[in-house]
Symmetry: C2
Amino acid sequence: MDSIGFAKHDHSRCIGSGIATVEAYCQDHRLQFTPVRRRVLEILLQQHRALGAYEILDYLREEGLGSQPPVAYRALDFLVKHGFVHRIERLNAFIACMHPGETHTPVFMICRKCASVAEAQREPMQGQLGEVARAAGFLIERTVVEAEGLCPKCQA
Amino acid sequence: MDSIGFAKHDHSRCIGSGIATVEAYCQDHRLQFTPVRRRVLEILLQQHRALGAYEILDYLREEGLGSQPPVAYRALDFLVKHGFVHRIERLNAFIACMHPGETHTPVFMICRKCASVAEAQREPMQGQLGEVARAAGFLIERTVVEAEGLCPKCQA
DNA sequence: TAACAATCGTTATGATATAACAGACTATTC
DNA sequence: GAATAGTCTGTTATATCATAACGATTGTTA
Ligand SMILES: [Zn+2]
Ligand SMILES: [Zn+2]
Ligand SMILES: [Zn+2]
Ligand SMILES: [Zn+2]
């Protein structure tokens, strides 16, 4: 429950340490952290909110890093596959992970007013979802847990 | 946790009682349960799985009930708004509710092999999601909880 | 029946996502 | 360091999902 949540924080550190962590992870695991992939992650870390694939593509296009949808989608596929970025199903959008490298099961809180998104953690097979799955004999492989509502600021 | 789940059941009763319940609800609440809306709900009850909007539209088209996307989407909007049908975000698809008329917070289990979907219930502000939201000061208005994996049959 | 609101049919378009293939780059092996 | 296998990129084209807009029709209410 160490939600960075909606709290203020030193955002420049988010970017630097996020990139550094992923860079180290990729070296350890023989993954290619190519310019497009790095730039997409940087964009998501900088924005610190959920971005659609075409929004990301706009940035890439401006910078001459690629102009067609597959360029953005392929980079996102890589980043999502390795857990550096999460897809927010409810928004058809992507957001940088706040715990890269750690195996984890995220929960998202999405503010409908200011569009900010906070990532928190949960245990996959515990809680109500786990109970329900055990009762039904269902084998969980992946979960989507997203809450929509109002962040602390927007409740005021 | 009264998940109809993946268990066998008298499916003809699903359809009849589902339609009857919704019909009564609409009369009570002065809602128009029009032919297209009724037919879309029937299709979803009959199929007993998640269908995309264009799949539903194909049925409507065959039956002369409408041939353009807005016809299907409008009926689905109505049915979702009033809780007779749920949208499965992970699949961009729709499924008939197993508890129409009751206010409830569903959880879905989606089998990646046979594409069946089971609906179960949970309490919105309890469990891990509730904890996380309280800790972050987040006000939940709606939740998306979907588990992907293997149903009992497909684990064999 | 008149006024008003809700619904429908249709056209057009927007938004999101992937298939397919050729060429470039990277890593590995010899 | 050349051959080769695997991965990544750039591009075209297309598939899939969803909504805006508007006039015609139907239902509700007074
Ligand atoms: Zn994460
Ligand atoms: Zn907010
Ligand atoms: Zn339901
Ligand atoms: Zn199955």
